[in-house]
Symmetry: D2
Subunit: 463 residues, 4 copies
């Protein structure tokens, strides 16, 4: 197979080297964007009269044929043609003859590859934003549906204070909303057209970059050709956004795993998203959650991978950069799959409300409220805290909860304690007492749910 | 020393454990933000009549005294008081007596720490934006001053095509501008007030979070208390921004190191930013650039560090999160130091213009232009490329550059070649031929410089 | 302050640059090894008659004085003297005058630094091996003491089969034993003397490297001077060993955190290694375990840090390499602190044996044994598994455990089931049935404990 | 398709979940080891009379048929059968009927997977050791062949002192030898048989683990079943070894890239291992070296990936661990490909000896030797260094090298300088003066080459 760049070479490429440097295995997924980019480039060349209309027509038609061939599975992959660009170019030559050679005018592989990845990543970022939207919707619906369900809130995995489970779900809504925000910010820096940068210095042909950008629906055009062909910031930024999003998914996964355990027993995941054991018939394993938690590592790895490869590279393009694609593609696939699984697994999860409720009633979750009560009776906070601590210690000794002690007993720790304390120690009261913005009180969470619903609705309208 | 939380404990903390869990060594840098946050919280408590005006007055005064003590170096650090918050609280009790205990009303260490880091990080992000502004200014000035200096543009570290060195510098301007953009986006997500989230579920006291946010100049207020105390996204996002910025600095460093080598000999760094060798008297080592390149690893490490620690943590606060501070602080210090060094080192760098110029004249940097010439004479691009390659191969055999071959010789490779070719093979012509937007042509770079200057000017005005 | 390398420089170093490149803040911990290395080098120079005995005597005496000054806190640190080597050299010049200048004969900073780190790391690796020995001892003692305590073994955090808690502890014994093995292997590659490599190419002086190696108790001598000054493999390998060891500590930490939760309630950690909450008086948080789990990230970060900085560096020494020290030192400190805390926290942990026992009795942990019983009655494994699964499903429906169903009921699922099944479904029987090597049967675990005790004893004797 | 574990499940697995949790795409490469492991397990079951000889015979025959089917490409992959183990088991049932179900007796997927990876990794580690052997051989041959070629030794990428290029190559020999050592150490910890651990607690069947281990040629048997099924240390350790080896390859790559540049012009890589540019006909890009340098990131990423996924997992098996395979497999493929390319690329590389020689003669590489000369004339080292520095500064001013200055001129800097200095300033003299062990003197390098050849020879004999 003739190389594009064979001119000054007298020896052929070693077979090992061909395999080593080939990217066709993974970059074939860029075919549609490569073809769309080529068509736009071709139309611009025609518009600028760099090639004739007849040539342009031939090329566009040829490219469209190739697209159909690929989509229908009739396109042959040849390992000797190292990447998808070569494959398309080679096939174009078969279809259009010499005219095919004109397509590369005023364009280099360097800017072409950048264009393709940016176009591809725009689409995938949109898809991820869509999945995030869906997942946030799922969380809002779950929160609405279970607004009266209570669960212990934990710090240090110790029961701390009772909260609405909707409060808990809405915390994840907040995280995934921030993730969406970050992806949107990253999108602005992806949506920049590099074509026309050629190999590194721009081209001598009288091209019109705005024309091409317009055809391809790019909002911005790169301002410096050396930067444009060697910038992989947008890949790293995307991988960072994905890593943070995976952190959130891993935290949610950890919780589902904990909650599915016999010890917590707060939820039951659907059979459809769990698996059994080949040796232990009783097992029902939260595999989807475990795999998601594990896949976190894979995404972090991809981030480190691209950061490492870019470290210390001089301008402009270096072949190392070819290694940006696999981590990027793998991260896109991984993140989409995890988000998708969660969108479908969460709604089918069963909540063991009784178990959650009863967990709120043991473990001294009302100790803070007791302290707050004392403060309201005029005792300085730190002292109130100390008294409450002493009462907890006493109750532990008695094998009782605070609300199981008599008022008389409690009075011995502080004589400001009176009958009006008892109602304040019930979970729902405690919850509704925390009524500042962001707090767990029912009306605050309802407000948060409404607000979220409006935002999600708006996002739908704007799309 | 009495612990804040000693109530239910019968045994004292092990000395080893005290050392293990203490953070005072590094979190003391938060003192000013901690005090400012406490004062604002105190004023809000007063405004909401949760504490009396007289108590509020006492507390604010006490806090102001502590600030002065710290600033004048008269404040004692005691390893047994594990963090800066404890130190301040403890001293406040010494100054104000029992009143001091009221400051913690409606506040937990969890939301207090988040507040402090966010306030601190706002300031540091501003400082980094300022340094980035300065560095971009330096690059623009360098570009302006050296607008007529040419240098080989490289791909694969092979000379590719001549470019203006200003084009090269402005590529870095673009990178650092994107970095600034990213930090600004991150800033929006840092600038969110968490106070009022208390331990995790909000507080039972009738606080006014907007009042506090306003005093502390926060643009937004966190919407979910469980999320607010366990969110470290803003730390990770900041570390990602810093990592990408360090990638850029490492690339620039690599180039300065290459250019300082005897082989390239393109620049001479100032004695002030290089060091010698203890054993080789002739050495002048580009240490600042090497250290910056190396420090890239440290920032990547910090990013991985915080990503790892957050992976799989259940809600809400877990003590692991204390480990977010050191990597964050180290990254801030590192990035600021590197940016600062570059702001001062770059302007003092001497360019060996002759060496750069002569490097543009050997190595067949005009082969592309020869190919483009052939295309303009009607030869399809791929064929033109092939002919140009053949000529290069021939020239190498002759030990000559293309422009040193006679037109007659060149004609033997393609008869469309004529005398009009020769001027097109001179570096400055080649440069100015690349006149599309983003290309290396002088007027394009001048335009880019002007545009950048305006932006920098505007940024100054807006601050 | 005169630089060691000022000869060809006409400008002084910028103050910023001094701060940027200084390492004295962290490398002062190398002082004792630096002095010991210098004394050995000096004695070798004397032995080889490169310097006179009188000079050697003066130098050794001077170095000994400095050591005492540092140890007694009378040594002044001056930020302008960038590292510990400069500080010692400078002070030596004050003490010995011109003779001091002879110490640097046949030595460069490059090989000196390598020597110091290797000597330091030998000592610290020994300390870590000692701590690992101690921790393994603690685990063996815990296992011995609690040999009759049972606990559910988990997979996917689902109760799977009952095991001895000693089996669980001894799993960690195995992990930490492998860690020790790895550190020992790494030690062999640390224990290599680089001195004599000079800057990179060796020295022209007639030195005797074996003599120095012998004085400093090195087992091997580096074979290639260029490699010797630029090799940081031993640092990375050490960081890898530490990272794996931290993974083990993080897993153990996760379990202690889970077991301390109200839901599991398997253990109670000592007050001495937990902390309370400033707002929730009832909390007893497993902070030491959480911090250890979090510190995992910090060690991974250090590993990535040094890997990144070494990536793509040409031979031989580059200043980037100075950045290897902080991650190394931080990792040593972190790992030692975590190991130490565990050595002391584990023995004081209380086991809630009843809770563990009762957890073994619910959750169908005997389903495998039921299946195995069926296999022994001639039913193929996969079918037996299926029948057992059906029984579990039935039992769940009945709200009963398998052993709570009657034999008659069970017979309906398979008529091979008979009265002889029931004893096989009791936890202790199940445990003792798993009697192959490595299995959880009491006598196997006792054997493992004995074996471990012998190994630990042997290690003591060999040290 | 019936799941192995369907017994207690009433709902079928979601299609999404099947795709999400499937590993067949990548774990099919384990087929041969899976079959070999199953055969050994089967023979042990027979030997222990757990199954009949006739059943054993049927199973072994069936497994052998499957192996042939796979090897001849006649085996069908069905996405619904999630992994290679299921595929083989399912096909075995088709071939052997009910007997197939007996193979899983006394075995779980958990210990089976561990066995397969360990067996596979043993083979691959051997292959990598073989490639490292080959590469070290290549370096020794290159060193032998070019023993008289000199090149500047660099520190900070500044010319420092002349060295033999063989010295430089042998530095890499040392690195790759250490890599081999590390892989051998890792091998010992891979070569441990886990079978018999069953799901986590061992098995109730009277198996003979030593029998199986012996059949499969394992040196050791795992000692604790809970550890055995949840240990992935050996994967991480392997990835660490690979990461360090990639660091070495990235450093060598960086040097080949530098040396291939027009500026250094020290080497010419073969056409077979370089590529051209699609737009710049003159380019000959060191792609293999660049890709190798870039692939460093990918291996670091895999290391972080597995470290992250193991962090904080409770015992024993968790599904997250399935994610260990792809990073492991990718690293194996990457490392083997890079080593292989280097084994073939290096011998075909042309050295531009003249260019290297002449580079040794400019850049004041003899300044150290001048200083050493002064020391030998009785001037203390630091002073000698200072004088030498002054001379360099003077020479730079004159545009001359030191050896181009007259003795009279030199005398003005120190009157101990005499005619005997001049020969000492010639590169070959300087090289041969550095004759201590590890130094660059020809006879030392020859000794090192001989020593290495013997070691390589021995390794061959031992294999």
């Amino acid at each position: 197979m003739a190389k594009l760049w064979g001119g000054r070479f007298s020896q052929t490429t070693d077979k090992r080297m061909e395999a080593f440097s080939a990217s066709i295995d993974y970059d074939q997924r860029l075919y549609a964007h490569d073809i769309a980019g080529s068509i736009a480039h071709c139309l611009m060349l025609e518009h600028q009269k760099i090639i004739t209309s007849s040539d342009a027509h031939t090329l566009v038609k040829g490219l469209e044929i190739i697209q159909k061939e690929i989509e229908s599975g009739r396109f042959t992959i040849d390992p000797a043609l190292e990447d998808i660009h070569m494959h398309i170019e080679h096939r174009l030559a078969e279809i259009c003859g010499d005219t095919a050679k004109k397509l590369h005018t005023a364009r280099s592989r360097n800017d072409q590859v950048c264009l393709d990845i940016r176009m591809y990543l725009r689409d995938e970022t949109q898809r991820i934003l869509h999945l995030l939207h869906q997942l946030r919707q799922v969380l809002v619906v779950l929160s609405e549906k279970n607004i009266h369900v209570i669960i212990p809130g934990y710090t240090h995995l110790q029961r701390a204070q009772p909260v609405l489970i909707s409060h808990h779900f809405m915390a994840y809504y907040e995280m995934f909303t921030r993730d969406a925000d970050r992806f949107k910010d990253a999108y602005r820096r992806i949506d920049v057209m590099p074509l026309g940068s050629a190999a590194l210095a721009g081209t001598t042909f009288p091209i019109d970059r705005a024309f091409t950008a317009n055809l391809l629906n790019f909002k911005e055009i790169s301002q410096n050709s050396m930067d444009a062909v060697s910038d992989r910031d947008f890949v790293i930024e995307f991988l960072s956004c994905a890593s943070i999003c995976m952190v959130h998914l891993s935290r949610l996964s950890e919780e589902l795993i904990l909650w599915s355990s016999k010890e917590f027993n707060f939820i039951e995941l659907s059979d459809a998203y769990t698996t059994g054991s080949s040796i232990m018939p009783q097992k029902k394993n939260p595999d989807a959650a475990e795999l998601t938690r594990g896949k976190c590592g894979r995404v972090f790895g991809s981030l480190i991978s691209v950061l490492t490869l870019m470290k210390g590279l001089p301008l402009a393009y270096n072949r190392d950069m070819q290694e940006d694609k696999e981590p990027l593609f793998d991260t896109i696939d991984t993140l989409k799959a995890c988000l998708d699984i969660y969108c479908h697994m969460l709604p089918e999860m069963k909540l063991n409300k009784k178990q959650m409720q009863s967990a709120c009633e043991s473990g001294y979750l009302n100790a803070t409220d007791l302290a707050d009560y004392l403060v309201n009776k005029g005792i300085p906070f730190r002292e109130a805290h100390h008294i409450s601590g002493k009462i907890v210690q006493y109750a532990i000794g008695q094998g009782a909860e605070i609300h199981e002690l008599s008022v008389d007993t409690l009075k011995q720790f502080s004589d400001v304690i009176d009958d009006d304390l008892m109602p304040l120690l019930m979970p729902m009261t405690m919850i509704n007492q925390r009524s500042c913005m962001g707090g767990t009180a029912t009306h605050q969470i309802q407000k948060a749910i409404e607000h979220a619903s409006e935002i999600l609705q708006e996002e739908c309208t704007n799309q």
